[in-house]
């Protein structure tokens, strides 16, 4: 255990706790970002460069923004009533959490895997990961890609329908407003002899 690990672990844990307990949802989301970044630092410490960078790219760059958007787009998201710290639901939640983690810890401690010696850390360069993904794991990769594409197309369709509806209502309102102002088109001067130029 070196100093860096303790610092990173402390930061990660602290921000995770803050993310759960802060009142302002945007603050919570930003704390989650710190947690993600701490995890990435942890991966980097384990010499897993690719995973670490991917963690930052995906979680800090994309997922965190998604969470923030979700928080903001929810109406009245920040006017949560101040609930008591020790409400009945809290107590039940704590009990559930203790029992679950206890079970997991028990299972881990009892498992035979722990007794084995650790294998040497694999040399996981980006190139190797790429090769693995393109050879052994090409099918799962393709399936994931397909799934994500389907999800994206679905999202686009949902967004498009929403937009069309909005546009319809908007344009109706405009024409309505314009019509109010228009009474009778009076006679207007027409271009008597017109010439044309191309622009």
């Amino acid at each position: 255990m070196n100093v860096a690990f303790i610092l990173i672990a402390g930061l990660t844990l602290g921000s995770a706790i803050a993310a759960m307990s802060l009142r302002n949802l945007v603050h919570c989301a930003l704390c989650t970002v710190i947690t993600f970044a701490g995890l990435a630092a942890m991966y980097l410490q384990l010499n897993a460069q690719f995973v670490g960078f991917a963690q930052i790219l995906v979680y800090v760059g994309a997922v965190a923004i998604l969470i923030l958007f979700a928080v903001l787009l929810t109406r009245n998201s920040e006017n949560q009533p101040n609930t008591l710290l020790a409400s009945p639901s809290w107590i039940i939640g704590i009990l559930v959490a203790i029992s679950v983690s206890g079970t997991i810890i028990y299972a881990v401690v009892k498992s035979t895997r722990l007794a084995q010696t650790l294998p040497p850390a694999p040399e996981a360069t980006v190139q190797k990961i790429g090769e693995q993904l393109m050879t052994n794991y090409v099918l799962p990769l393709e399936i994931v890609a397909l799934l994500l594409t389907a999800a994206m197309i679905g999202a686009v369709i949902i967004a498009m329908r929403d937009k069309n509806e909005k546009e319809d209502s908007g344009s109706k309102m405009i024409t309505g407003n314009a019509r109010e102002r228009v009474s009778q088109p009076s006679t207007i001067h027409h271009p008597s002899s017109s010439q044309k130029t191309t622009r």
């Binding site: 790219l57 994309a62 008597s192």
Partner: protein
Amino acid sequence: MQSLDQIFVTGKQWLLAFLPEALQPVGSILLVIAAIFGVFATLFAVTTILERKILGRIQNRFGPNRVGPFGFFQPAADGIKMLTKEDIVPRDADKIIHFLAPLALIIPVALALSVLPYGRNMVPVEFDAGLLFFFAVGASTELSVFMAGWSSRNKYSLVGAMRGIAQMISYEVPLVLSTVTVIMIVGSLSLVKIVEAQSGFLFGFLPSWHVFTPWGFAGFFLFMIAATAESNRSPFDLPEAESEIIAGYLTEYSGFKYALFFMGEYWGMFAISGLSVTLFLGGWNAPFPFLQFIPSYIWFFTKLVLIIFTFIWLRGTVPRLRLDQLMSFAWKFLLPLALTNIVVAAIWFFSRALQFPGALGLRWIFCAAILAVSYVWLGRGVAQAQRAKRVYQYAE
């Protein structure tokens, strides 16, 4: 010549030799940090004055010319002004996030600057996956825009932040996709290896930079457009659109925090221009064999300054896009073109096997034709504005 090229490397080692053995790694890191900050803070100062002077000349004015010779001490005057200005934080602002936002911009950008190869053997931090690191830290600058816009508790700031995030996320896609071609051809994410792959000369005098291949040219074009949008430069400066939303997410910033934001944006521009130099313009390689005696870092920074000049030139010319047009440009034009470019790069890569005379020319024409056709076709789709040419009538 060799010694001049490596003067900074040897200089660093000479300095480190003064330190005890145990402190040398720390000393090395600190030296590199100091060098990055020093070089880019100077470049930032020079760029601000050059930008104002070039814009001035484009607009037929002198630009700032009062402080010092030709006005070149203007950045110093601006710096003093910024430092001594009152730091105003709105009463309703979220003070912590308001304070942290400029830091959340400066830190990732400085990290991004640390992986670029500035010259032969001159990489501050050498990663195997340097490119990935660059994009990873680059992506987190969006957070700072959000933090600044949200914490200011100002309507213009909020609109600016929303615009900024939407724009940066959208343009990240073509940005990354346009670099995929380089990764495919070089077969590495290491920026050093990418630069080394561009050394050497075709037929003994043509630089074998990526930009001189069809896919490389298209990739460079796409990358530069996306980079302009990523660094919020005109014509994609919507998040700070002065005529619409005052200063966007920067509206409520003043004094040193504003200066930090300003510097962060310029550093971001340097970083992304440096990346485009590395990926497409041969990094620190000289353009011609007979110019190789000039040190490598000078070539890097020359190319960087040229790209920055192009940014300024563009800024002096074009008006701003609208948000929906910006989005449709990213998703309907840049993205399909970037995907086409990946296919073209694959064709280029696998047609290397063709070895008959004139094969290079054939590959060239074929790839360029695909790209040109898709450019014209996609361009027609996106520029619906170029509907029928308008004809105006005259009344006598």
